[in-house]
């Protein structure tokens, strides 16, 4: 690297630019799912409102907070890794995984509760969308654990420690977080 860039604040893409292509493309796919949901919802508003009343807003808020904590700690992990504090970075990464796990457990618990009350995937259109959106998000989260695993592997061994890979994995994890923020608004809050 040349020293000419040192004076001004360097503007760099966090992680692989390739991951950002994924974030934007998958983001658009989710936008289209969301738009379809909103349209279907307005066409049979009463049914959606009645079924939505069976969801617990507090659970949604709890899920959002949990994912925000995990996102926060993975951001701190990236910062720590950049400073060379790899043990701290790894510790933050374990926190991320822990809260990701809490989210998974709480989601499964919420699903089990709804199914026990008789609101399964095929109960009505609102619940189809509910399971579809939370389910596809859940799947992204499971894949996120693979990315976190890759990041942990990078941080654990002095032979690797590619900052770019760690940032790439963090970018994926934040994407799951912000997609959930939208899903939360659409499933739990909007009327």
């Amino acid at each position: 690297m040349t020293t000419a860039t040192k004076g001004e604040a360097r503007r760099v893409v966090p992680g692989q630019p390739d991951m950002w292509a994924f974030v934007l493309f998958e983001g658009l796919v989710f936008t289209s799912y969301f738009a379809v949901y909103v349209v279907r919802r307005t066409l049979s508003h009463d049914l959606f409102l009645q079924s939505q009343a069976h969801l617990d807003l507090r659970v949604g808020v709890f899920n959002t907070l949990v994912l925000l904590v995990s996102s926060w700690s993975v951001a701190r992990s990236v910062q720590a890794a950049r400073e060379g504090a790899y043990r701290r970075a790894l510790a933050h990464l374990w926190t991320t995984m822990l809260f990701g796990l809490v989210f998974l457990v709480s989601k499964v618990h919420e699903w089990a509760g709804a199914i026990a009350e008789g609101f399964g995937f095929t109960a009505d259109e609102f619940f189809s969308f509910y399971y579809f959106l939370t389910g596809i998000h859940f799947l992204h989260l499971l894949i996120g654990f693979v990315f976190l695993g890759v990041a942990a592997r990078e941080l654990a061994s002095p032979a690797r420690r590619s900052q770019e890979l760690v940032e790439t994995c963090a970018t994926y994890w934040h994407t799951i977080d912000f997609l959930w923020v939208l899903i939360f608004a659409l499933l739990y809050v909007m009327r």
């Binding site: 399964g120 995937f121 095929t122 032979a159």
Partner: protein
């Protein structure tokens, strides 16, 4: 520095796919207590119409649809090990490649029959029974590629004469036993009851246990062969 060729990643998909298959197997209500060929059309239709069964049939078969080809990467790894054996021609490795698509294709066909039967269970029971029969017979009787795979693998191991063979010799004996255990299932069309029927001891329990055991045993010996290959290739100090 270890090779970054991804073989270990492919190897580690085996336990994942294995767990998914087992879960789907237990979820499908027609496997835990296998459906009998003697069930009348009305009974078969009732099986699909039962609100307890229907979601389990659909979800388990959707999972099987996703993961039916999940073990092909493992077969590709076995092919690579056969290529390391002391043979004069690649005939055995090519034969395994040719077999690899057979098992999953047959299973996918059976899977489509089951899922289509479950799509509209309100249809004429005679028609439901037809698709159910198509599914079970496709699933049970088409063991040809699986048997061939085991026999070819056994032959390849027997002919692998070198100081330290890629797979130990008992793996060849094991594969022959598995091949024999899978054979009776080909005759499910002949028996409505007893061990040869598609829900019988030989055609269902023994055959599927043999397949399960084959996956576990081959997974372990494959992992050992790959580990040994890698240790051999790592240059000394």
């Amino acid at each position: 520095m270890r090779r970054a060729d991804g073989e270990l990643i492919l190897l580690w998909t085996l336990p994942v796919v294995g767990v998914v298959w087992l879960a789907a197997f237990l979820l499908f209500p027609g496997f835990v207590r296998p459906m009998s060929p003697t069930m009348s059309a009305e009974e078969v239709a009732a099986f699909y119409r039962d609100p307890e069964n229907l979601p389990r049939i659909r979800y388990s078969m959707i999972v099987f649809n996703w993961f039916a080809v999940g073990l092909i990467p493992i077969l590709a790894l076995i092919v690579l090990q056969i290529r390391r054996m002391a043979h004069r021609t690649p005939i055995f490795s090519y034969a395994i490649i040719a077999c690899a698509a057979g098992g999953p294709t047959i299973f996918l066909m059976a899977n489509l029959f089951w899922l289509t039967a479950a799509f509209r269970p309100e249809r004429d029971p005679q028609h439901i029974q037809l698709f159910n029969d198509l599914a079970w017979v496709t699933f049970s009787s088409q063991v040809g590629f699986l048997v061939a795979q085991s026999v070819i693998l056994a032959l390849a191991i027997y002919l692998d004469r070198q100081q330290r063979p890629v797979f130990p010799r008992w793996v060849a004996h094991f594969n022959l036993v598995v091949a024999v255990l899978m054979l009776p299932a080909a005759f499910v069309g002949l028996a409505m009851e007893g061990p040869f029927a598609w829900d019988g001891l030989l055609s269902f329990w023994v055959r599927n246990a043999a397949i399960g055991l084959w996956i576990v045993v081959m997974g372990v010996v494959l992992a050992r062969a790959i580990a040994w290959e890698r240790a051999e290739e790592t240059p000394g100090p």
